[in-house]
């Protein structure tokens, strides 16, 4: 029993160490971004903390246009991805068994292709058809990457939906379309909202694709950070990173809350 207590302590310690290891890159941006120094260093005391870089980021116009462009792209991507994701997953849910494997493959394929390859391919396609460095081109490129995640999130909600709900609705006299509107969508609305937020985050974070399919017209925040780092390493990047981490965590918390409001989930 004594050894067991020790072994347990060692295991718990190891667990926290792993947690710290996984969280390190997320957390390190906070001290750097809140440092009073002009250089990228850790603050050496609590008094060296300041919001100087945060204020800088929030007032400088090039950061703000980055935020604006990112917002436009991310919101459009979220809407488009959600429409595609919902249509796709309700279709798959209906067809069931026979085509599921093939359809899942279509869904997963773009998720596993190395981003650099998608980026190269889209660069070629978009220049060929004149979508290079256009709003529509960037939004479509982001949607191609984000839509599968929306679809998977909606599918996960649908998988929890009793297929007999659809049968019940039809037995009561509702057509297939009416059933989608009256019964299916209201019961997966949490999953749909979560999928939209997921697509938003994907687009908001996206860098590699954007580097390839956009240039000057569309200038997103990650790109601005990328260029900012390459031009001169300043703590503003850490500051905006810290802001973004906070934003992302808030969005995730909302997602989690939305998902838990699905009536289907609650009744389980």
């Amino acid at each position: 029993m004594f050894l067991k207590g020790r072994a347990r302590l060692a295991l718990v310690a190891l667990g926290w160490l792993m947690g710290a290891f996984l969280l390190a890159p997320t957390l390190i941006v906070f001290p750097i971004g809140l440092n009073d120094s002009r250089f990228v260093v850790m603050p050496d005391s609590l008094s060296a903390l300041s919001l100087r870089h945060v204020t800088n980021v929030l007032t400088e116009p090039t950061w703000l246009t980055g935020v604006r462009d990112s917002l436009i792209v991310a919101v459009s991507t979220a809407i488009l991805s959600t429409v595609i994701g919902v249509a796709f997953s309700i279709g798959v849910w209906r067809v069931k068994a026979r085509w599921t494997m093939a359809l899942t493959a279509i869904l997963v394929a773009p998720m596993i292709v190395p981003p650099i390859i998608s980026a190269v391919a889209l660069y070629h396609m978009w220049t060929a058809i004149g979508l290079y460095d256009t709003w529509i081109g960037v939004i479509l490129a982001h949607t191609i990457v984000a839509a599968p995640y929306s679809a998977l999130t909606v599918s996960a909600s649908l998988a929890l939906l009793d297929p007999r709900l659809e049968q019940a609705s039809r037995s009561l006299g509702a057509s297939r379309l009416r059933t989608v509107a009256d019964v299916i969508l209201p019961n997966i609305k949490g999953g749909v909202a979560a999928g939209a937020l997921f697509a938003f985050i994907m687009s908001w974070d996206e860098l590699v694709l954007t580097l390839f399919v956009a240039n000057r017209v569309v200038y997103t925040l990650p790109r601005k950070m990328w260029d900012g780092i390459r031009e001169n390493v300043d703590p503003s990047v850490a500051a905006i990173s810290a802001l973004l981490v906070l934003l992302t965590i808030s969005v995730l918390a909302i997602t989690h809350f939305l998902k838990s409001t699905d009536p289907v989930r609650q009744s389980h």
């Binding site: 019940a168 039809r170 009561l172 006299g173 019964v183």
Partner: protein, 365 residues
């Protein structure tokens, strides 16, 4: 309770066949269900009973055969145009709607006016004893109440036929037997045709006018509960609708109109041979509650088999004794009302029965 007594619709199922891959879920099933009947489709899992119900509901497309309602072919009519009330396994209530909204939904789809909807929903909620529950969500209700909402939703648009897919299987034992009587009463009041699917023989017998027993996609027997239990047409039906012991032997004639079953050293009288003739292989079916135990030494004119009690169990209303005999272990069920039956384990006894309490079956039926 102003629910009008309606006349149910008649259903005719004609040579229905359905395969899932290599599995034959329905194998040439034909069944006539007169208007207003309460019929139960009874069988073990995989017998095709649910497939048959879902074919009538319109959710299973059959490769061959037709389904008629009041003489009209509905085989190709989509589910939403069949106007059948369906009570699904697990109820399939819409979790995002209140009880009243659930029940109102079929009326809303039919363009009934708001005031009419409110009135009819109230009436039907009264009928299923859920007055005042209209504003709750399904998940706030108990299992028995949810089941009643599902019934209300299936009845409210006054369909001529109501299909029930294991409507009571999710409920616990006590509640189940209570709702069996309620469901039967509801059927009596409404006059609608009820088609009920169950794997529980007691439930099927308790509620139905007729029981259709299925096995491997084939209809084995369609008859009243009493016929199914007392005159099963096959070993499968005899075993499935209650406990049964089988004595196998050969039919022999002792005189012009008296037949016995010969099995080893035993000869048992046969009440009614039906189509059997001397020389045929046959089995006697014995129900535990039609057997009695007597002292082995006492004289006995009834058919009897000697044996030894190897186990006894008190089950409340009855005691069951297991007797080891030359025909294997036989179960004998006796009322438990006497304080002690003086029947201990290891006791030598004889199992006896009234000649007409045995059922005779061709051996390989």
């Amino acid at each position: 309770m102003t629910v009008s007594r309606r006349t149910g619709h008649a259903v005719a199922i004609q040579s229905l066949c359905k395969s899932f891959g290599a599995v034959r879920a329905l194998d040439d099933v034909s069944l006539e269900i007169p208007a207003g009947e309460f019929i139960s489709l009874l069988g073990p899992s995989g017998s095709g009973k649910s497939t048959l119900l879902m074919a009538v509901a319109g959710f299973v497309d059959c490769q061959e055969g037709r389904i008629l309602v009041n003489g009209q072919d509905i085989t190709r009519v989509p589910a939403e145009r069949r106007s059948l009330g369906v009570v699904f396994q697990g109820y399939a209530l819409f979790p995002h709607m209140t009880v009243a909204e659930n029940v109102a939904y079929p009326l809303k789809l039919r363009g009934v006016s708001k005031s009419d909807i409110a009135r009819r929903v109230d009436t039907v909620l009264d009928l299923v004893k859920l007055r005042g529950m209209g504003d709750r969500k399904p998940r706030q209700l108990s299992g028995g109440q949810q089941q009643r909402v599902a019934l209300a939703r299936a009845f409210v648009f006054e369909p001529g036929i109501v299909l029930l897919d294991e409507p009571l299987s999710a409920l616990d034992k006590q509640l189940r037997s209570e709702l069996q009587f309620e469901l039967k009463g509801l059927h009596g009041r409404l006059g609608t045709t009820f088609i009920n699917v169950t794997h529980d023989q007691e439930e099927a017998m308790a509620m139905s006018d007729r029981v259709a027993v299925l096995k491997d996609g084939t209809l084995m027997q369609v008859a009243t509960p009493r016929e199914i239990y007392e005159l099963p047409n096959s070993r499968f039906v005899a075993e499935f609708v209650g406990h049964a012991a089988f004595l196998d032997g050969t039919v022999a004639a002792t005189s012009e109109d008296r037949f016995v079953l010969e099995s080893g050293q035993y000869q048992f009288p046969i009440p009614d041979t039906g189509r059997l003739r001397a020389g045929d292989e046959a089995s006697l079916v014995l129900r535990p509650e039609r057997l009695q135990l007597v002292d082995r030494s006492s004289p006995e004119v009834r058919p009897s088999i000697p044996g030894t009690i190897i186990g006894s169990a008190f089950l409340g209303p009855q005691c069951v004794h297991v007797v080891q005999t030359d025909f294997g272990a036989l179960k004998v069920s006796m009322p438990s009302s006497g304080r002690s039956n003086g029947l201990d384990s290891q006791k030598d006894v004889a199992v006896v029965w009234e000649p007409d309490a045995a059922i005779v079956l061709p051996r390989y039926a």
